[in-house]
């Protein structure tokens, strides 16, 4: 049927003998030509972008059901679970917009890669347990035909949190909550600690909690690439561009108490291409804000926080980028293969890296010492003055260490209560948040992705109830403080 549509010139082409052809055989790329023509005809038909006059293959599609702003581990996790939980195959068209495909500043790639269940909030513990079972069975979840299995390089060595006298009671109650939720955590006295880890100096330590199972660290790049590969095989489209504008419509509605409320709905997302002024308006139904450290800018574009302060309209998204340093050092007499990720009473932490006596670690600065998040330059004096003394005090072998390298990355820090924001915004009704996790986004990404996908598809949380993490708590002032932030 298609062959009759062939232009007349083709017929002559068939008969001319080309060099290298066998006598009587067709050496033209018959199937290639037919598929090209089919494509051209399909693009003329309605429902597709017309590529005949200008090539728009580098632009994102004109229509998409869900647009995910941010292609880090959280954005990809949401895309994965949307595709896993959709009711029919191919039911939802998802587009992931990522500004930088090299992920040079993304928190995921620069992360230390730890996973632990030692939190004070039950929701955080459940998220972490879910993520641990996801990572354990990652080759069943993220299997792609003909692709090699993923090697997460998971070190199941656990986390060791040390508490001073004043924090010991809080640690004990936290461990009770963790055990109730199913995490395997053991409490150790200073004597037991010295017995188990002879290289620790237990001065100032009153209690220690040690995670026995499902805790450790892994390679975040592998998780990111695995998610990306799987999500592409499920049909999610990727686009390298920056979101510059949301086109939305407002509707004035009355609440049950007859108060006027303006509800916004985003209709179009303008995606600007890299290094050019060209942009593509993508019509969408739902927008997911998974932009990490830059989520506040995206939220501001959508009109979150435009209003008198103290009202729901005026509540901004309190997520800002905070720079954190990670240093790598070599210490030949340092702790052995069994070293867990040790988090000191002062906030300094370190873990082993590989077989060759290398360690990496750092410390969260206090509010006054916060470095300028404008760039990712490393401050080596910070290590000298603020990190090394605490490390050397806790592990005497670290007095003779040698720093090999260092890097810096951003925390998408929630200044309100250092816990994530998940779920829809009450006024911009089709924008969902999955951001603000202040340093534990990577370890909770599978769980959060599932929660957001359930919220989008079913309207409520099913597996893990994350209602304490909704946006409205910023307006209502309900802090859910997480005490164990490293």
């Amino acid at each position: 049927m298609i062959r009759r549509v062939l232009p007349h010139g083709m017929g002559r082409g068939l008969l001319t003998r080309r060099p290298g052809t066998r006598r009587g055989g067709f050496s033209l790329d018959w199937d290639g030509k037919v598929s090209e023509i089919k494509k051209k005809i399909k693009s003329i038909l309605p429902g597709r972008s017309c590529d005949l006059l200008q090539d728009t293959s580098h632009l994102p599609p004109e229509h998409s059901d869900v647009v995910i702003v941010g292609g880090g581990v959280l954005g990809l996790s949401v895309a994965y679970w949307l595709k896993k939980l959709e009711s029919r195959r191919g039911a939802i068209r998802v587009l992931v917009v990522e500004r930088d495909h090299t992920y040079s500043q993304a928190s995921t790639g620069l992360s230390v890669g730890g996973i632990c269940q030692q939190f004070s909030l039950p929701e955080n513990i459940q998220l972490s347990l879910f993520s641990a079972s996801f990572l354990r069975n990652i080759n069943e979840y993220l299997a792609v035909v003909d692709a090699p299995p993923l090697d997460l390089r998971f070190n199941p060595s656990g986390y060791l949190l040390l508490a001073s006298e004043k924090d010991a009671a809080a640690m004990e109650s936290n461990v009770k909550v963790q055990r109730w939720e199913g995490a395997k955590v053991s409490l150790m006295s200073p004597d037991q600690l010295r017995n188990k880890f002879p290289w620790i100096n237990t001065e100032g330590v009153a209690l220690a909690s040690y995670g026995m199972e499902d805790e450790g660290w892994f390679d975040p790049w592998c998780l990111l690439q695995g998610l990306r590969r799987k999500v592409q095989s499920l049909g999610v489209l990727f686009c390298q561009g920056e979101v510059t504008r949301f086109v939305s419509s407002s509707q004035r509605m009355l609440t049950t108490d007859d108060k006027a409320v303006v509800l916004k709905r985003i209709h179009e997302v303008h995606v600007k291409m890299d290094r050019s002024l060209e942009y593509q308006p993508v019509e969408c139904a739902i927008v997911i804000n998974a932009a990490g450290a830059w989520s506040a800018q995206i939220a501001a574009l959508a009109g979150v926080g435009e209003g008198p302060p103290g009202t729901l309209q005026g509540t901004k998204l309190p997520v800002e980028p905070r720079k954190r340093y990670v240093y790598v050092w070599h210490c030949p007499q340092g702790p052995g293969l069994e070293t867990p990720l040790v988090a000191d009473t002062s906030g300094a932490y370190f873990r082993r890296e590989g077989l060759g006596s290398n360690y990496l670690g750092g410390r969260s600065p206090t509010e006054q010492e916060e470095p300028d998040p404008a760039n990712l330059e490393v401050d080596h004096d910070f290590f000298q003055d603020k990190v090394w003394p605490h490390l050397a005090l806790r592990v005497p072998a670290f007095e003779t260490l040698k720093v090999q390298s260092a890097w810096a990355g951003y925390y998408d820090y929630n200044t309100f209560d250092q816990n994530g924001v998940v779920g829809p915004h009450p006024l911009v009704v089709n924008m969902y948040f999955a951001t603000g996790f202040s340093g534990h986004g990577l370890q909770q990404a599978p769980g959060i992705g599932r929660a957001v996908a359930e919220m989008v598809l079913k309207g409520r949380f099913q597996t893990i109830d994350l209602s304490p993490f909704l946006f409205t708590r910023f307006y209502l002032g309900e802090k859910i403080q997480e005490n164990n932030i490293i």
């Binding site: 354990r136 390089r153 998971f154 070190n155 199941p156 060595s157 656990g158 026995m212 199972e213 499902d214 450790g216 052995g336 293969l337 069994e338 070293t339 077989l355 060759g356």
Partner: protein, 230 residues
Amino acid sequence: MAAPWASLRLVAPMWNGRIRGIHRLGAAVAPEGSQKKKRTILQFLTNYFYDVEALRDYLLQGEMYKVHEKNRFRDKEWIRPDKYGHFSQEFWNFCEVPVEAVDAGDCDINYEGLDNLLRLKELQSLSLQRCSHVDDWCLSRLYPLADSLQELSLAGCPRISERGLACLHHLQNLRRLDISDLPAVSNPGLTQILVEEMLPNCEVVGVDWAEGLKSGPEEQPRDTASPVPA
């Protein structure tokens, strides 16, 4: 003909002229002398009549079977499945007996399956050789066996790497650890050294510490006339 008598030490069947008392196991009540006399009469009959011989052999087989049934687990090292892969039902009678050693080599045991092994609080020896689904996550589950486990073999498991071996330091009573032939371990020699440091009381077997070391520059062929160096 005399051999079957020697093996039946546990059984002293009562031999009448009829064969009634044969089914009684245990020590013979009849005095030694009459037994001997009875034996020689039967021996005489057996030597002369094929039928008597055949009958006696048949009854003997029955007795032997019963004796072996009773003593099946005695003096035996391992409880194994039979040729059909089934374990005998008698095993259930030994519920209270603590299990000391489990050989799960070449099994498909996985992370969830280890639940069953971890309840054996007196397990002393565990062999997970060539288990294709045992990986680093599974090794992190072994810490409940720390009080009793003395011997562990992980030889030939394709998914175990040095990261999983790091969590064996909970098993402080371990005396023998076999980590030979682990293809996923990146540097076997160095791993052996680090594991030996981690478990000072344990004999770590399987990897030669020199594996992975590059050989030095080839020595010059020595002149035969020169003295042998010290």
